[in-house]
């Protein structure tokens, strides 16, 4: 009788332990999914901010039509892009176009004194940061999750219930990966 009770207790403890492990895996996987959706939220926010920026800048930067058009085109391309690879590439282009817009704005003192422009610049810079941080958070969450999928004892549960490793976010655009070339000779 006593042996039977001990047996039942051991089984119960084991079951609770397995449930605990399963739940940590689910929690880690949900963190990965949530982090991924955060990236989309921030990308969307950037798309929404750009028309305002262009509207503010237009009056000051009359001679920079090409720069402004590049931003508009990159935005349209980014909104219409489908699939992870294409989206990554288009968003990279948009980052680049915005970078050159802000660089050109440096030579317009009136524009730099405009409160509206400064506010938008802060918003866009922060959004840029938030995109980067949400990608970083996605990678952190993915690393946590993948560690759990691979390591003892959670890997056993992961194998039983078909938890698959997630992929890390990596930059799709080759130019962003390159180390900037600095040349001192004329």
């Amino acid at each position: 009788m006593l042996g039977f009770i001990i047996f039942i207790v051991i089984v119960a403890v084991l079951v609770i332990w397995v449930i605990g492990l399963y739940n940590t895996l689910v929690r880690a996987r949900n963190a990965v999914k949530n982090a991924w959706s955060q990236i989309d939220v921030q990308l969307k926010r950037r798309h929404d901010l750009i028309p305002n920026l262009l509207e503010t800048v237009k009056g000051y930067m009359k001679h920079e039509r090409e720069t402004l058009e590049a931003v508009t085109q990159a935005r349209t391309a980014a909104i219409n892009a489908g699939g992870v690879a294409e989206t990554g590439k288009a968003e990279g282009m948009l980052s680049g176009a915005l970078k050159s817009l802000f660089a050109v704005a440096e030579s317009y003192p009136d524009l730099k004194a405009n409160q509206n422009f400064l506010a938008l610049q802060e918003e866009l810079t922060s959004t840029e940061n938030k995109i980067a941080f949400s990608r970083q958070a996605y990678n952190d969450a993915t690393m946590q999750y993948n560690n759990k999928v691979q390591m003892v004892p959670t890997n056993i549960i992961a194998g039983m219930f078909n938890f698959k490793e997630e992929e890390f976010f990596e930059i799709e655009i080759p130019t962003e990966r390159e180390v900037p070339k600095v040349s001192f000779s004329e």
């Binding site: 940590t24 610049q121 802060e122 938030k130 990608r135 970083q136 390591m151 962003e176």
Partner: protein, 420 residues
């Protein structure tokens, strides 16, 4: 991250149990000493009641008390967009469920603290001095440190253990005082009843305990506090992927000779840098709430292996010569320590590695002058107090108090009449 929080919780529970045991022993001894034999149980109940009441107040009102005592003012996004954005960025990086409430303290000394019992109820407060002095990168480091406190559940833990410390100090204080003033009655009674050897030993042991217990409780509290500061620094590096930001900020804070205005021994341990502790201190004394700034900066600067918890831990052990781990082992999973035969995931790219760092450095809009930055901060305070801003054509900005009743008023510079 989960491992970190959970390992933290285990350690916290252990320390809380020790403190609780100390509290009850003190309560029992105080009862025996003051009321006489058999009074220990009453003392025990008294200690328990004091503890429960203080804990409930701290749990539900702690944040409000802290904010009121330090004169902090809650802001909205429009009041100081940059501060708000920096907090939001760190919330994203740390994967907190919700953005904490943000407060500004009108004080020229640069500092910051976090409060609130859990991430859903958290608040971050920064001084105007901090906003005026730090660049965006540095501010980000400080905010990440505070978010680290929130994420690691440090605030709840330090409040709980601080409350117990307070209760122990209170009870021993009452006991010692009443023994000092009302002791004659008891002593004469003991003398008349002959005073057994045993009772005398109890009396002496009790008095020694009354003196030592608060000291011991204080040491536990401080050791826990220092460890949490290192951990929050490690979190800051992990979230920003840029340890140098916090290092620069700490140096600036340490080298500012201004003292904080509204500060006392209760609120001081909550700040990024303890405002009552000498910045020049070289070693972490047993009686300091924070590790010395110089050492914190040195650890952040020597994080050679990237900006992960592991890199911080290595740097910590190297600088302090300590063998203990600042971060629990279970959270220190490196690609090398994974089981053989599984594919290494490769380095996890952080912000700096992923985006062109040049973009961030160049496009961050810093107000051109120090004056511009100060104006941005003071404007935030006006806005937080619900002043209305009216831009006059002459370029002046009129700040109208919320309780201003007149319908019309003149611009102070050009005398143009504005209507409310």
């Amino acid at each position: 991250m989960w491992e970190l929080i959970r390992a933290n919780r285990r350690k916290s529970v252990f320390l809380v149990v020790i403190m609780a045991a100390l509290l009850f022993v003190v309560g029992y001894a105080a009862g025996e000493l003051l009321i006489g034999q058999g009074g220990g149980v009453i003392g025990l109940f008294f200690a328990f009641a004091v503890w429960i009441i203080m804990t409930l107040v701290a749990y539900f009102q702690g944040r409000q008390i802290f904010m009121t005592v330090s004169g902090a003012q809650k802001i909205k996004k429009e009041d100081h967009p940059q501060l708000w954005n920096v907090v939001e960025e760190m919330v994203i990086a740390s994967q907190l469920p919700k953005i904490p409430d943000i407060y500004i303290i009108d004080d020229p000394a640069p500092n910051a603290f976090a409060a609130g019992r859990n991430p859903a109820n958290a608040a971050v407060a920064v001084t105007t001095g901090l906003l005026n002095r730090l660049k965006r990168d540095e501010l980000q480091g400080v905010i990440a440190h505070e978010i680290g406190h929130v994420k690691n559940r440090d605030i709840l833990f330090m409040t709980m253990i601080g409350v117990m410390l307070g209760a122990i100090v209170l009870i021993t204080d009452i006991a010692v005082r009443s023994m000092f003033y009302g002791g004659h009655r008891r002593r004469s009674r003991t003398a008349s009843s002959g005073g057994s050897q045993f009772e005398l030993i109890i009396l002496v042991a009790g008095i020694v305990l009354m003196i030592l217990a608060p000291l011991l409780a204080h040491l536990i509290y401080l050791a826990a506090s220092r460890k949490r500061e290192y951990l929050a620094d490690a979190s800051s590096a992990q979230f920003t992927r840029f340890p140098e930001g916090l290092a620069l900020a700490l140096e600036k804070i340490a080298h500012t000779p201004i003292k904080m205005k509204k500060i006392n021994r209760v609120t001081a341990p909550m700040y990024t840098v303890n405002p009552l502790q000498k910045a020049s201190a070289k070693a972490a004394g047993l009686f300091s709430t924070h590790p010395p700034i110089g050492e914190r900066v040195k650890i952040l600067r020597s994080m050679a292996g990237g900006s992960t918890y592991m890199a911080y831990n290595e740097a910590f052990q190297q600088i302090t010569g300590s063998r203990s781990s600042i971060v629990p082992q279970s959270a220190l999973i490196s690609p090398e320590s994974r089981p053989a035969g599984t594919a290494p995931p490769g380095p996890v790219p952080g912000l700096r590695q992923m985006e062109g760092a040049a973009l961030l450095a160049a496009a961050v809009p810093e107000p051109a002058t120090q004056a511009g930055k100060v104006r941005q901060t003071t404007d935030a305070l006006w806005k937080a107090r619900n002043y209305r801003f009216i831009h006059c054509d002459c370029g002046a900005v009129l700040k109208v108090p919320p309780d201003f009743k007149r319908r019309e008023f003149k611009c102070l510079r050009c005398k143009k009449v504005h209507s409310a």
